[in-house]
Each structure stands twice: as C-alpha cells, then as structure tokens.
C-alpha cells in the first residue's frame, strides 16, 4: 500500500544539518496495524506527518499504491488525502466553535457528501460510540476520552483506508486509553489500516507490527 525509500528529513541550521529522519525504508501493506515507538524526538510524529501528506518537505521516494506522491498534482494529492486518510491527534484538535455533530460533519462537507447521506453516516457513528445524547454539546463540555471518541468518529467518517494516530491516548487515563485501543482493534478487524505513534508499550499489544525509532532511524521492525 505504502512504500517509503530513503526518506530523509532535516533542518538546515547555520553550521550543520540536523536530521530528524535519516534513511527510512518502509513498506506498509493493506490491513496492517502498525505501532511506532521510541523516545521523544525519535521522529515518530515527523514520520507520521510525512506518511499523512501533511509534510511535503522531505527527500526520498514515497509511493502510495502505484502512484509516486512526488509526481502527483496538487489536486490529485488533495483528493487522495481526502479519500484515503484519517487523522487522530493527542490533543484531539476538535474545532471549539462546532458541536460534536458538526465536528464529525466537517470532513464530510469537504468531501461533498449529500445531506441525507451525511445524516445517516453521523447517526451511525454517534450510535456506535454511544454519543447520541451528546451530539449537540461543544468540545469544552466533554471529558478527554469523550473528545477523543469524537476525534475518532470524525477521522473515520470519511471511510479512510488508512488511519494515522499521533499519541491518541497520550492525554487520557488508562481506562479511557483501553477503550480507545479496543476501538482501534475493532476498526482494524473491519479492514482499516492503522498507524499509531505512542510511548506506551501496552498500546503496541493491540497492533500487528511494532517499529522502534531512535534518532530518526528504524531500530527494529517486528511482527507481533
């Protein structure tokens, strides 16, 4: 599904280049649940951003399916971005001014989904995450776990084939974290490819593959 070759990412400072990622080669196939682990500054988020097309400032080759990302036009890239990717953040990043319902609706609006279809998709998601009663609340009125549930609902509303999660449980206590990870597992079982970056060893247990990053390099890559 994804093939990375010789990915370098660096910051040019006055005297030297500081590498955030160096020589990353990685192949990801459909249906995998990958956990990226490593200490702070190892490059987990950077790699995730590159994978998620949020950062185009890198060197090396990135193939998605049979297409070379580097050779795609802005519009194709934007369409690929919309149709294939979903994002989940440590700080949830919900839009404060929108209700739960509207937050989940936003990606669908950008995908020009019809009004009736939007309603049924959101109704399903609210049902699934047991948030129907909270659909008209604003993010500030929810607990962290609940906010992250909305974040996940929003990420999968567009039915992406690849879900990227950057420390999804970083701000949650263990019971909430467990709940989130179980949802990930369920999504994975339904066929979604998931890549998560995390500090917590126990989260890796839910995945199928564990990649350890240290100082911008892949230290180890094992199947679980």
């Amino acid at each position: 599904m994804i093939e990375l070759q010789h990915i370098d990412k660096y910051i040019e400072s006055r005297f030297q280049r500081i590498f955030l990622l160096k020589g990353i080669n990685l192949t990801i196939s459909q249906g995998e649940f990958i956990t990226l682990m490593g200490p702070s500054g190892a490059g987990k988020s950077t790699l995730l951003n590159i994978l998620g097309l949020l950062d185009e400032d890198f060197e090396g080759e990135y193939r998605f399916g049979d297409k070379d990302i580097r050779k795609m036009k802005q519009r194709e890239l934007s369409n690929l971005h919309k149709s294939e990717f979903g994002y989940i953040f440590q700080a949830y990043h919900l839009i404060d001014e929108l209700t739960v319902y509207e937050n989940i609706e936003t990606p669908l609006l950008y995908r020009n989904v019809s009004s009736s279809e939007r309603k049924s998709i959101i109704a399903d998601l609210l049902d699934r995450f047991k948030m129907v009663a909270k659909k008209d609340l604003f993010p500030a009125q929810l607990s962290g776990g609940q906010q992250q549930l909305v974040g996940i609902a929003r990420a999968i509303a567009g039915k992406p084939s690849l879900l990227l999660a950057d420390e999804p449980t970083g701000n949650l206590h263990s019971a909430q974290a467990k709940e989130i990870m179980e949802i990930f597992q369920e999504l994975h079982r339904e066929g979604t490819t998931i890549i998560q970056a995390t500090h917590a060893r126990e989260n890796a247990e839910y995945g199928t593959r564990l990649i350890q990053l240290i100082d911008g390099r892949i230290e180890s890559d094992e199947k679980i």
């Binding site: 700080a91 919900l94 839009i95 990606p107």
Partner: protein
C-alpha cells in the same frame, strides 16, 4: 457548506463580543457616513431627470467682464436676446422665456383673499411649456399663454387659491399679483404638479405677453442688451444634430452684432445644460456646488477607507488565534480555496452586520446634520439605489477587507499550526509591516483633520473678532415693502424715533455690512483732467452714519440733497489727499452728475473680511430705500423691544409681516460657508479619531497580549513599571511621528489655499500643527499605556508558570 460557514462565523462573532463590536462599530461608522453622503449626492443629481429630451435642453447664461478684470456671471440674459435667439441662432427648435418674480403678493379678487407672498410666480411664454411639457388638467396647451393677462396654475395652487373648485371650473377666474406693478390675469389652464425633484419650482405661469408696452419692458429691465437681470431666464431646446459648442459660437456672433466693440465691459453668452441647473443658480437657493459634493464624497471615501483599513488590520492581528482551526480543517481535507471562502463569508457576515448598524447610525447622523442637508432631502431606505447600495457595498467591502486576512490565514502550514507555532520568522514580516503602515495612515488622516479643523476655527475666530469699524451691537433691521411710498417710510422712521426703546432709526438701500455689493465709477478732478475710481456705493439717509456708529473724520454725516455725498478714507487715498478736511466741498462726478463731498467717514468693513475695504461713496436716493435699521437703547430686553418694533411696523404697514433681525447675526452669516466646512470637517475628524482609537485599542491589546511573557520576564529581571511602559510606548511614538510627517503636507496646502482667500487672515498657525500632533500622540500613549500598565500589573509568576 455555506450554512456551516455561517454557523461557525456566527459562533465566532458571538464568542468574541468585544472584538466583534469594535470591528462592527468601526466599520459601521464608515458605512453610515458613506451612505449618508451617497444619498446627498444622489439627491443632488436627481433633479429634472424626467423631462423628455432633457439632454437637448439648455439655459443661456450671461457673463459680464469688466475691464478691471472682475467677472460677473449671471444666469439671466438681456431681454432682447430672448426675442431674437431662435431666429438668429440655428439649431434651436424651441425657446422658452421666464421672468421670475420674487416675494410677490398674491390676491384672489373673488372674495378679496390675500394669499401671502410667493417666489413661485413667473412670467412664461408658450414655448416654455413646449420645452417642459406638462400634463394639462384644463385649458389648451397651445393657446393658454398666448394672450396677455392669462395665467396657467398648477393643481397645488388651484387648491390653494380656489379650494374645492374643479380644474375645468377654474378657467376664467381672476388672479392678481402685486409686485412693482399690479398684474391681473385670467386662469387659462391648470397643469399637474411635478412629483419628482425639480428646480422648476414655479406654480403660477403668467403669460409673457402681459409685458407688452415698451414702458413695461423698461420697468422690468428687458429693454436693452446692456441690462442683464437674473429674473430674465431663457431656455432653449436644440435639435439632436446641433453641437452645443456651435451654439456658443453663434451666440458670440450675436454679441458682435449687438454690442459696441469699444465697450469697456465685455459680454458673452454661454449654454448651460439642464443637468447643471441644480449646481448653478436655481430658483430657491437650494443649489449645491459640485466642488462641495466632491469634497463630501472624498471625505466619505476617506472615512470608509480608514474604517476598512482598521478592519483589515484587526482581522490580520486576530487571525493568529485561529491558526489551530486552519490546521484542523486542512488535515480534514479542506483546500485553501475553501478556507478562503470560509473566511470571506465570515467577513461578509461582519460587514453585513456593520451595514445594518450603519443604517441606524446614518439615521442618527441625518438628524444631527439636518440643518446641513438640502431642503427636501429625505432618505428613502427602500429606494432602488439604496437597495443596490446594500447589495453591492457589503460585498465589495467584504472582498476588499477580507481578502488579505483570509489569504494569510489559509496559508498556514497545517502541522506547524497544530503545534501552535506561529508563522513568525525573525526579521522582516510582511504582516507586521502592513499592520504598522495601516496604523500610520489612520493616524495621518486623524492628525490632518485635527489640524484643518483647529486652523479653520482659529481663522474664523480671528475674522469674527476683528473690529469692523462700526458698532454692530443692539442693531436690528427689517426689509421695507418693495417700492413703498416715501412718506410712509418717513412716517415709520418718525414713529420709531419717538419710541423710548429706540436710539435712532435709519432708512437705506441696504445694510451697513452685507453680502450685497453695488459698485460704480466716480471721477475725481485732477488738475485739468479727471481720475476714474471704482467705488462701492451705499444709498443711505441722514441718520445712517450715526445709527451704525461709523466714525466721522470730517464734515457732516447728514445727507440731505441728492448731490451730496460722503466718502471714506480709502477714497481719500485714491484722491491722493492726506487730510480728510482737504476733500470737503470737492466736486466729484458720480452717477452722471456733479456731487459735492460733505463728509468723510472712517474705513469700515462693509463686506466679509475675505475682501479688502473698497473706496466708498455714500449717496442718498430715498426712492430706492429698502432697509430699515434701528439702533436700540442700551440695556433693553431685546426680545420685547423687537416685539414693540414689529407693532410699530405693522401700524404703518398693516398688510405686511414685520421681520426684524439682529445685525450681528447677519454678519455672522458671512462665514456660514466656512463654518459649514469646519463642521463637516469636524465631524469627519471625530469619526477618523474614533475609528483610529478603536483600531489602536484592539491592536495594542492584541500586541501586548503577545508580549505578556516578555513583560513578565523583564519584571522578574527587575524592570520598573516606567521602563516597561517606555519599552511598549516607544514603537507607537515612532508610528505617530511618521504619521505626523505624512499629515502636515496635505493639511498645509489645503490651509494655504483657504487662508489666501481672506484679505485679513492669521499667519499659518504652526503651533496648531505641533499641538495636533502632540495631542494625537498623547491619546495614543494613553491607550497603549493603559494596556501596558495592565499587562505589567499581572503577576509574572502566574504567566511564566503557564508556559
């Protein structure tokens, strides 16, 4: 999608109430003033648009140029031109002549009803109705004005003169106008009133043929090419193939034919398009100058531009706070175009709100400035042009004001925005540069406006406090009925002199000081030849000099004979004499006869201080007295004294309404135009300052909020409050300094031109320039200082802990 934009826009606005109100209020001020000015300008251009073929209708104007260089434009034409113009100038399809009457007393003989005085009566020939066709309710359009002593009235006057009478039944009824002469006429037609804006205000059209004898023509001043009277109006309609410029050439030929070549005064005729009527001399003094309208439009645009700049400035500053939302939307698949649309929608919503508030403010402004608005001006909020205004202006403003902030916002890099990194590269930043410059422009205009207003006030104070050379206190005046018999005037004067409230009463041709001017030439004997002098002439009685308190230098001030004259000191100078006594008994040729100088008066200002004092001759001609001047005894209750005077006046002239006014009020009117300019500029000034302050208030609170951490660290390191205030204020002092430099040049050039218009003027008051700059700087520092003070008061531990 649009709904989503509006929802989030609305919630954003509700959430930031202070920001929203500052933005909306600032912008609505700009919009309201623009809306009001738009309507005033629209109104001025809405006159006489409904006449068929209006672009082919012209009025002929006369310009008389004296060999001294003075030019006297007149909207009237000599009588003979009106008679021959269509036969001697080709291309004219129709001519229409008017002879307008002023303050004519209308009497309905049936029942002997006195209808009061009107300015809406005029002589008109049948051609006038050919050029300006009307809807006829009764009578024959072709023949109604052919016969002498015929009149066509409008429906409005029909109802006034003959209430309840049908138009058709009014035909044949008699009407009388008492002017210089008594005019009688029979109603021969009734036309509908105009419902749209028009300068053709007339409602009684008396047939031109009523002026039939040579004697009458002379009486009305229609007899010669040399007599130009603004009452004698000439309209023409040309065929579509004629070029108005050719017309002017043909008119020049008429001048050549009818005026002597060696005449000292040069006369020329020109055509004035109907569309310009409202901007020239019209018939009820409601005309406006295009320059004034232009000035107003510029002020409106400047204020709107200021408000818009302010808006851009605040939005840009505020946009940093929304970086996170941009980041999220981008990761969710929002494209840049969609984000730009979103922010533009938001801006549009704000501008729409501002427009709504602006309409309310505009109504308030309309009430405040009621006396400055043209009479008959009304603001129809649902008129088609205003609906277009509502539709287009917010859209245009939203685009202009919103495009820059939305481009900045939508350009954020999502992953950096989400991490909370501001796009702040060290060194030059276009955003900061722009914000600073916009602030400079705002302050420049504020400072410039302040300088203008204060200097205008300074000069107006100066001219109104100058000694005028006569005593204007406790003097009231009234107009005498036109052509009143002399014995009645003298009777009135005597009755007044008997009253205990009156110190003296005088009859004269005009007021001691007014806007009117009568000039003539006089010949002073000089050895064997004569020296010609242009003089101002006043027609006064024997009491005039005493009543008005004009100092007498030599001789007597009592004029009793028509060949006795008084002269002023400047006349003495023209006669090259140094002592007033030397000119006494000198024979001077004036008004076609030899007159003897019996007295010399001191120079005094008989006109505005824009003009120099002219050499003056006072002569006496009781037949043309029109003005009554009364000096009251000191210590009078002025209001009750006025009542008493009116009683006396009415005992002599029972059918007239006595209207006494104070002379000093009349003199203050001299500078009314200037006061108007000052007030309009003053209002603009207040608005500009208000908008700038609002902008600065929001901007400095934002900037200082960003520097709170820096302030806290400095405090921890031991900076005093004064040092922190100084640090924050430094930037703003520089900004105001630059604004000041930019402001002084336009202000200087405008003021120099304006002041040069006055013969008596103050020196360019540079202290006002400096003072205005310092004043604005103080206001700025107060606002910035307040914010900085608050920031410096917060506990540093608290702020640094958050980081």
């Amino acid at each position: 999608m649009i709904k989503n934009y509006f929802t989030i826009a609305w919630r954003n606005l509700i959430r930031n109430k202070l920001r929203t109100s500052v933005h909306v209020l600032g912008l609505s001020l700009g919009i309201s003033i623009c809306f009001l000015i738009f309507n005033v300008v629209w109104h001025a251009y809405s006159f006489d648009l409904f006449h068929p073929d209006r672009e082919h209708i012209f009025r002929i104007n006369t310009l008389t140029e004296y060999h001294t260089g003075e030019k006297y434009p007149n909207s009237g034409t000599p009588g003979p031109l009106g008679e021959v113009v269509d036969s001697e100038v080709s291309g004219i399809i129709e001519k229409g002549r008017l002879y307008t009457l002023h303050q004519t007393l209308v009497v309905v003989p049936e029942g002997n009803k006195v209808m009061g005085r009107t300015d809406k009566a005029t002589f008109a020939d049948p051609g006038f109705f050919e050029i300006f066709p009307r809807k006829w309710l009764a009578g024959n359009p072709q023949t109604a004005l052919v016969e002498p002593h015929s009149v066509v009235i409008t429906q409005g006057h029909l109802e006034k003169y003959f209430p309840g009478v049908e138009a058709i039944d009014a035909l044949g009824k008699e009407l009388t106008w008492i002017e210089k002469d008594t005019i009688r006429a029979q109603v021969k037609g009734v036309v509908e009133d105009y419902t749209e804006n028009t300068d053709l205000i007339f409602q009684d059209f008396i047939s031109y043929a009523t002026i039939q004898t040579d004697q009458q023509r002379e009486w009305y001043g229609l007899h010669s090419w040399g007599s130009v009277n603004s009452s004698s109006q000439l309209f023409i309609k040309i065929n579509s193939s004629t070029d108005p410029e050719d017309l002017d050439l043909s008119l020049d030929k008429l001048v050549e034919k009818n005026y002597e070549k060696n005449n000292l005064n040069k006369t020329s005729f020109s055509t004035e398009p109907l569309a310009d009527l409202h901007f020239g001399q019209n018939y009820d003094d409601s005309s406006v100058s295009k320059v004034f309208l232009e000035g107003l439009s510029y002020i409106g645009l400047i204020i709107l531009a200021l408000a818009t700049l302010n808006f851009v400035n605040l939005e840009t500053a505020q946009s940093l706070g929304r970086a996170k939302e941009v980041g999220i939307r981008k990761t969710l698949g929002g494209r840049r175009g969609e984000l730009v649309m979103q922010f533009l929608t938001e801006t549009y919503l704000l501008v729409l709100m501002a427009t709504g508030v602006g309409m309310i403010l505009a109504e308030g402004l309309r009430i405040v400035f009621l006396s400055y608005l043209p009479q008959g001006f009304s603001m129809d909020y649902w008129a088609i042009q205003n609906l277009i205004f509502y539709a287009l202006v917010p859209l245009a403003l939203a685009l202009i004001a919103g495009i820059y902030p939305s481009l900045i916002l939508s350009g954020y890099n999502p992953q950096r925005a989400l991490k909370g990194e501001k796009n702040s590269s060290p060194g030059f930043s276009i955003g900061v540069f722009l914000r600073k410059n916009l602030t400079v422009i705002q302050f420049s205009s504020s400072i410039a406006f302040v300088i203008l207003v204060l200097t205008l006030q300074y000069q107006i104070n100066f001219v109104s406090s100058q000694p005028l050379g006569f005593d204007k206190s406790a003097i009231v005046y009234a107009s005498l009925p036109f052509m009143s018999p002399q014995e009645k005037m003298v009777q009135l004067q005597e009755r007044l002199n008997q009253s205990s409230t009156v110190r003296g009463a005088s009859l004269s041709g005009g007021l001691v000081s007014s806007t009117s001017l009568w000039t003539s030439d006089a010949f002073i004997p000089k050895d064997t030849t004569e020296k010609m002098v242009y003089v101002q002439v006043m027609n006064v009685d024997s009491a005039f000099v005493g009543v008005n308190g004009i100092p007498l230098l030599a001789g007597k001030s009592h004029l009793t004979q028509e060949d006795e004259i008084l002269v002023n000191r400047n006349f003495l100078k023209e006669a090259e004499l140094s002592q007033p006594e030397e000119i006494l008994n000198l024979e001077i040729e004036f008004n076609g006869k030899q007159c003897k100088v019996v007295g010399v008066i001191e120079n005094y200002h008989s006109r505005t201080l824009r003009e120099d004092i002219r050499p003056m001759i006072m002569t006496t001609n009781p037949a043309y007295f029109q003005t009554l001047t009364v000096k009251l005894e000191s210590g009078q209750n002025l209001a009750s004294a006025k009542l008493e005077l009116e009683e006396i006046f009415n005992s002599i002239y029972p059918y007239e309404t006595a209207e006494f006014n104070f002379l000093d009020e009349e003199i203050n009117q001299f500078y009314e135009q200037d006061l108007r300019i000052r007030n309009v500029l003053g209002a603009a000034c207040i608005l500009a300052i208000l908008i700038s302050i609002m902008g600065l208030f929001a901007l400095s609170s934002h900037t200082i909020a960003q520097r709170t951490k820096e302030i806290s660290i400095r405090k921890v390191l031991g900076a005093s409050l004064a040092q922190i205030l100084g640090l924050i204020s430094k930037d703003y002092v520089i900004l105001v300094g630059i604004s000041f430099l930019l402001a002084i040049f336009p202000a200087y050039y405008f003021l120099r031109d304006w002041l040069n218009d006055f013969q008596y003027r103050v020196e360019m008051p540079y202290f006002i320039f400096v003072g205005s700059g310092l004043g604005v700087m103080l206001i700025c520092l107060a606002i910035v200082g307040l914010h900085a003070f608050l920031a410096a008061q917060t506990n540093p531990a608290k702020i640094l802990q958050d980081e």
